[in-house]
C-alpha cells in the first residue's frame, strides 16, 4: 500500500469534521465573548474616565480576569469544547492558555512549575506577534525614510 492510497483510506475511515457546524459554534461563542467585551468597555466609559480608545485596555484585562475565574472553576474547558476557535481566538483564550498552564504546573513549584510553564502554550503568540511587529514596523520605517510612503 503506497502513501497515497494509505492517505485515502485514512480519509475514508477518519470521521469527517463537521466544518459548517463548527463554524456556527465558533461564530456564536466568539460573538458572545466579543459582545460581552463591548458591554464591559461601555461600563468603563460610562462609570470611569475612559474614552472609546483608552477603554480597550481595561476591557481586555477584565476579559482575562473573567477567563481566570472560568478557567479556575473548569468552565472554560467546557466552553472550549463547544466553541472551538470561538473560545481560542478571543483574548480570553490567550488568558485561558496562560492561566490553565499556571494552575496545571503549580505542583512543580512556583518558579520551576508556574513561572517556567506559564507561556508554554501562549508563547508562540507573543514571540511571533513581537517579531512580526518588528518586521512590519522596520519595513514601514525604511519605506518612510526612503520617501516612498508617509506615516
Amino acid at each position: 500500500m503506497d502513501a497515497e492510497s494509505y492517505q485515502k483510506t485514512v480519509d475514508q475511515i477518519a470521521p469527517k469534521r463537521p466544518v459548517l457546524l463548527n463554524c456556527m459554534k465558533a461564530f456564536l461563542t466568539g460573538g458572545i465573548i466579543c459582545a460581552i467585551g463591548q458591554l464591559v468597555s461601555f461600563v468603563f466609559m460610562y462609570f470611569f474616565s475612559f474614552t472609546e480608545r483608552t477603554a480597550s485596555n481595561p476591557s481586555v484585562a477584565t476579559m482575562v480576569f473573567l477567563s481566570m475565574v472560568l478557567t479556575g472553576f473548569g468552565i472554560y474547558k467546557k466552553i472550549g469544547q463547544f466553541g472551538g476557535a470561538g473560545s481560542a481566538v478571543p483574548v480570553t483564550g490567550f488568558g485561558n492558555a496562560v492561566i490553565s498552564a499556571a494552575i496545571e504546573h503549580k505542583s512543580e513549584g512556583f518558579i520551576l512549575g508556574v513561572g517556567v510553564n506559564m507561556f508554554k502554550l501562549a508563547g508562540p503568540v507573543i514571540v511571533y506577534g513581537v517579531f512580526s511587529a518588528f518586521v512590519v514596523a522596520l519595513i514601514k520605517t525604511i519605506l518612510v525614510k526612503m520617501g516612498v510612503i508617509s506615516w
Binding site: 458591554l39 481586555v60 508556574v114 511587529a133 514596523a137
Partner: protein, 121 residues
Amino acid sequence: MIVSVIIAFIVGGLVCVIGQLLFDVAKLTPAHTLSLMVVIGSVLDGFGLYEPFIDFAGAGATIPITSFGNSLTHGALQEAEKHGFIGVLTGMFEVTSSGISAAIIFGVIAAILFKSKGKVS
C-alpha cells in the same frame, strides 16, 4: 449603543469563524492558527487598516487575538515616528502591555487560588 454590541458580536464571530476554518480546513494546530492571526493583525496595522477596523467594530476587533499584533505594531510605529529606527525596538510594548500583564498577573493569582483538576487543556 445596541448597534455597537450587535456589530461587535457579528464581526467578532466572523473573526472566530476564520480561526475555525484555519483549524478545520487548513488543518493547522491551535498554536499555528493563533500565531498566524497575530501576524495578520500586525500586517494589517502596517497598512493602516486595523485602526479603521477598530473604529467600525469596537470590541469585535479589540477582543480577538489579532488586535494583539495590531497593538504591538502600533506601539512600534508610534515610537518609530518619533525616534526613528530605535523606536522600532523600544516602542513595541508601549501600547499593548495590558493583555500580557493581565495574563501574567491573573495566571499567578490563579495558581495560588486554584488547584489543578487533572489534565487541563
